[in-house]
């Protein structure tokens, strides 16, 4: 009788442990798949940005390199004013929709538009502050199967000797692409672009 009780106890403990492990394993499998996908999404955008010409426009300024006014005008938004964040947000609200846009930089607010996509970008600086949820292709086609995912780009000046950030133009840019699912950062990929390297390619 004692042996039966002990055996039942061991079996129960084992079963409980196994059953509690199973969901974790399933979640782990899902997370692994997500991380692999996130890595690919990051590399995809990084590769795209590497094909963009280098320019000497200041990083950390969002679309300033292209000229945000020109950029917005090209998609039918005329600010007709100083280009403040409020005006931009208003313009965006007029257009509606949620797609890619800039959520950091000198604009003082986020800019999103269904018409704004990366095919309008003309240089590496244009990528700074780019954010899209769900991630989208260069021509603005959203990856619908990735609802809840997001992808953002940061471009900063870098001191080539130390790889530390610099406040001024150095001819070297660090491009960081981060991929999120919900609030969780699943991948972060980094490359460095240089003016001379671009010209030497």
């Amino acid at each position: 009788m004692v042996e039966v009780v002990i055996s039942m106890f061991i079996v129960s403990v084992t079963l409980v442990a196994s059953l509690s492990l199973a969901p974790a394993m399933l979640r782990g499998d899902q997370e692994l798949a997500d991380r692999a996908r996130a890595q690919q999404l990051g590399l995809e955008l990084l590769a795209e940005s590497e094909a963009a010409p280098f320019d000497d426009a200041p990083a950390g300024t969002g679309a300033r390199a292209l000229g945000i006014d020109e950029l917005l005008e090209s998609i039918g938004i005329t600010l007709g004013g100083s280009g403040s964040g409020g005006a931009l947000e208003s313009a965006v609200a007029t257009l509606g929709g949620s797609a890619g846009g800039f959520r950091s930089g000198s604009l003082g607010g986020s800019v999103e538009s269904a018409e704004l996509n990366r095919s309008l970008f003309t240089s590496i600086s244009d990528y700074d502050g780019w954010f899209a949820s769900p991630p989208e292709s260069r021509d603005g086609t959203a990856y619908d199967e990735l609802a809840g995912w997001a992808r953002e780009v940061q471009v900063t000046f870098i001191d080539p000797a130390t790889l530390d950030e610099s406040a001024t133009e150095t001819g070297v840019r660090r491009v960081t692409v981060r991929v999120y699912r919900g609030e969780q950062e699943l991948a972060s990929v980094v490359s460095f672009r240089t003016e001379a390297g671009w010209e030497a390619r």
Partner: protein
């Protein structure tokens, strides 16, 4: 065949034992032992099942971990490869940032040695000269770069060859360009390209616009007055490169310190040994040195020319190779040429190598061809006919009749001594992955 056994118990225990023994049955104690064995087997079976379940679970966890490690490694490898490519770009930037001195300052070996990108990643870059093992010895040698990106345990290395984009100086695109003042004292000047100066230009003649274009500020499509600021060829580099291929001759080898009524080529040289490239370097030792009434196919380099050194009368001159300069003077010089085409009449009795006879017969015209560089001041007095370009490190004064037609575009050519590293570029087809 099964047999049924019926146990009949008596009141006597001994009788019972005998009966049991007779029918082959054990005692009550044996029955208890059998029962224990059965329970033990069940216990072992349960333990086995538990063990199996545990092992299966552990295997699942291990597989999960292995998958995680594999995916993580895949990501690290991809990131390491991107970082290696990035290191290549940074290497080019480091060289361009110190375009005149990078070969000496960066040199062979590590340009970036495990520079940390973040907590998990580093980049390294190594340079070598596969031609002769010394990056610094030749400013046009190719450089092999090996970049290493490291993320955790993932390492990716790539190799590329950096080649030099060689060209000339922008000043060499002019018909005549001077670093110092340019004085135009003629109303008969015809140039196909432009006249330019890094200093002011003074015009005392008339109607020069109709003959050509005077470009002062670099716009190239109008007459301007004002300084340009174009890079001049470094004379010390020109001398180094020409000495490397030329034959040095003493000024004492030239009677009267003149090249006069003669033929000077890579085969004909009555003043000394021939140079297979026709490049002769003459240290004038501050003596007045004159070149006149001769046919020259090659390059003359004059060092330390004395005052009044000049080229005069009838001359036919061209370099052996279009990428060799015709005349390089490290000092002041003058041109005062004749407009008659009777050069061959001047060389009667001169030594001519048999192989040069046909060339001499065919070139009786008084024309200069090629690139001319004068490090000091230059005065062009009369009947100057050139197919090429003149760059002057000092002042230039144009007098008399000047006609300059375009030769090759020397600004885009590789004229020996006047080549410039215009930039760096990755050699096509030279990228490859390596193990390092």
């Amino acid at each position: 065949m099964k047999h049924a056994h019926i146990r009949i118990y008596s009141a006597n225990a001994e009788t019972n034992r005998r009966l049991d023994a007779r029918v082959g049955l054990g005692s009550v104690g044996d029955l208890r032992a059998t029962s224990r064995r059965r329970r033990g087997n069940t216990y072992l079976m349960i333990l086995g099942v538990v063990t199996l379940l545990t092992v299966t679970a552990l295997a699942g966890v291990s597989v999960l971990r292995a998958n995680r490690a594999a995916i993580s490694l895949d990501g690290d490898v991809a990131q390491a490869r991107v970082l290696a490519k990035s290191a290549m770009q940074m290497g080019v930037q480091m060289a361009v940032d110190d375009i005149d001195g990078w070969r000496a300052t960066l040199g062979d070996g590590a340009w970036l040695d495990g520079v940390r990108v973040d907590q998990e990643s580093t980049v390294s870059l190594f340079a070598s000269d596969e031609t002769d093992g010394d990056i610094a010895d030749d400013r046009f040698d190719e450089v092999t770069l090996t970049a290493v990106g490291r993320v955790n345990s993932a390492v990716q290395s790539i190799e590329a060859v950096l080649e030099i984009d060689v060209g000339g100086y922008e000043t060499m695109a002019a018909s005549v360009f001077s670093d110092d003042e340019m004085e135009i004292e003629t109303d008969s000047i015809d140039v196909e390209s432009f006249l330019g100066s890094n200093d002011e230009v003074e015009e005392h003649g008339e109607d020069i616009d109709e003959f050509g274009e005077i470009r002062i500020d670099g716009s190239g499509d109008a007459v301007h007055v004002g300084p340009m600021s174009l890079e001049m060829p470094p004379p010390e580099i020109a001398l180094d490169e020409l000495e490397a291929i030329g034959t040095r001759m003493s000024v004492e080898s030239f009677p009267g310190y003149q090249i006069k009524n003669t033929v000077l080529t890579e085969k004909s040289n009555q003043f000394g040994p021939v140079n297979p490239r026709g490049v002769y370097i003459i240290d004038c030792a501050n003596k007045k040195f004159v070149i006149r009434d001769s046919l020259i196919r090659g390059t003359i380099v004059l060092i330390n020319p004395g005052g009044g050194s000049e080229m005069r009368n009838n001359m036919h001159w061209e370099p052996l190779y279009p990428t060799d300069p015709a005349l390089v003077v490290f000092g002041d010089h003058e041109f005062q040429l004749s407009d008659s085409d009777v050069v061959t009449a001047s060389i009667t009795g001169a030594y001519i190598h048999p192989d040069d006879e046909d060339w001499v017969d065919a070139h009786d015209d008084s024309t200069l061809t090629g690139f001319i560089y004068v490090d000091g001041d230059l005065k062009i007095k009369d009947h100057f006919r050139l197919v090429g370009a003149v760059v002057v490190g000092g002042e230039v004064r144009l007098e008399g009749d000047v006609v300059i037609e375009n030769g090759p575009n020397y600004a885009e050519s590789e004229v020996v001594g006047f080549r410039r590293a215009n930039g760096l570029r990755f050699k096509r087809g030279a990228w490859r992955r390596v193990v390092r």
